[in-house]
């Protein structure tokens, strides 16, 4: 049995999505054109994940096993609609950036995966920590990926467009294009995620080897 702290921290490295659990790739690739898209999507997903984990774990003895997947989807969809409406009202620019991918949180396999693998078998407190850990791990991964792509592709970092919190890290002359401009295009998303995954594989390979030696 894991301690409560372990339940939380496993999402941040050991099982960090989308690297260790290769799930939820569509939002990972699509919204990480900018740092803002990355953390925005990550936090929206975290909110839905934590709420649905709490609810599903609280109802785990009431939900009939045969229709559990359908029940999970309805619970998740409810929280997605709440997120969708709140974001449209309070952060319209972010909601515009994420577009169709906010309703698509419903079919993010990370959430359904946690519901099935964890929340339906564990208590409310543990499920909350699990959701929070995995969600924040996902946010971290998306923010790093978004920052990397935006920095390499445009030389800027968009923190929060609505509040005008943009940083120009590498200034460019008028009318010049950035060398790695393809990073913000679709191919850059695949290549950048692939490179990050490769780096993580190399790190764990090395640490495994030093442990064995």
């Amino acid at each position: 049995m894991k301690t409560l702290t372990q339940e939380f921290t496993k999402g941040l490295w050991e099982q960090i999505p989308p690297f260790r659990l290769v799930l939820g790739l569509c939002p990972t690739l699509a919204v990480t054109k900018s740092l803002e898209g990355g953390w925005g999507m990550g936090l929206a997903t975290t909110f839905v994940l934590v709420c649905s984990n709490i609810f599903i774990s609280a109802l785990r003895n009431v939900i009939p096993p045969k229709v559990r997947i359908a029940t999970f989807i309805v619970i998740i969809a409810t929280f997605v609609v709440i997120t969708e409406l709140v974001m449209k009202a309070y952060t319209p620019m972010l909601s515009e950036t994420l577009g169709v991918f906010i309703p698509l949180i419903v079919v993010n396999c990370i959430i359904l995966g946690r519901a099935e693998a964890f929340a339906s078998k564990n208590g409310v407190g543990r499920s909350l920590l699990d959701g929070l850990g995995i969600g924040l791990g996902f946010t971290l991964a998306l923010a790093v990926l978004g920052a990397l792509r935006e920095l390499l592709g445009t030389g800027k970092l968009t923190m929060f467009a609505q509040a005008n919190l943009d940083l120009t890290i590498i200034p460019l002359g008028e009318g010049r294009e950035f060398l790695f401009k393809f990073m913000v295009d679709p191919p850059g998303a695949f290549v950048c995620l692939g490179a990050m995954l490769l780096l993580m594989n190399l790190i764990s390979e090395r640490s495994a080897r030093s442990k064995a030696a």
């Binding site: 290769v22 799930l23 939820g24 790739l25 569509c26 939002p27 690739l29 699509a30 359908a70 989807i73 309805v74 969809a77 409810t78 997605v80 609609v81 969708e84 409406l85 169709v100 309703p103 698509l104 419903v106 079919v107 993010n108 396999c109 359904l112 393809f182 295009d185 679709p186 191919p187 850059g188 998303a189 695949f190 290549v191 995620l193 692939g194 490179a195 995954l197 490769l198 594989n201 190399l202 390979e205």
Partner: protein
């Protein structure tokens, strides 16, 4: 007619659902290890996505809009898709057992394929009429199938080559997908 033809080219090549819009990437990486699974998945998606596009379009304009329940779109669509997948499974099992045994294991996976829900939502967002919805849903699914089958062909070759351990599996898959996306991006010039 030209309008529909352009829409097909746009959905299949220029704005490919997998490589430009990033919808349905989990099955793209998950079911592309073998050619036979990839073709099965592609057929199942073409079948279900076209149906789902049409039915969710009808649900939106004949149920949700008259009742002023547009904010329930996400919940309604995912339930319609889940029910549709179940229905297709039952009907196929009874009427076309050969097709069912070919597509069977892929059908349940499609409920959580974001390409299906994504295209359904795009149809509504872009204000497509009925004919456009049919054409766009079908063409998007064909684009999905095309990219998936091409990708599976590449990955089958990978299985035969020697590769450093850290590069195997998902990593090489992602980088290949990036190169494919680069090739598909060339079609953007078609749109002018």
């Amino acid at each position: 007619m030209t309008e529909y033809l352009l829409l097909v080219v746009y959905a299949v090549l220029v704005n490919n659902i997998l490589l430009a819009q990033f919808l349905g990437n989990c099955p793209f990486l998950g079911t592309s290890q073998k050619m036979s699974t990839a073709t099965g998945m592609a057929m199942a998606v073409i079948f279900v996505l076209t149906f789902a596009g049409v039915i969710t379009w009808a649900v939106q304009w004949y149920v949700l809009v008259p009742l002023e329940l547009e904010y329930l779109q996400t919940i309604a669509f995912i339930l319609v898709i889940a029910a549709l997948v179940q229905l297709v499974e039952i009907v196929l099992q009874k009427t076309a057992p050969a097709l069912y045994s070919a597509l069977g294991i892929f059908l349940p996976l499609i409920t959580t394929n974001c390409a299906v829900l994504g295209v359904a939502i795009i149809n509504i967002k872009e204000d497509y009429d009925f004919a456009n919805t049919v054409v766009f849903s079908f063409a998007s699914a064909v684009g999905f199938g095309l990219a998936l089958v091409l990708f599976a062909g590449l990955r089958e070759r990978f299985a035969l080559s020697r590769m450093p351990k850290a590069l195997q599996g998902t990593v090489s898959g992602l980088i290949t997908a990036g190169l494919m996306a680069l090739a598909f991006q060339g079609f953007m010039k078609l749109g002018g």
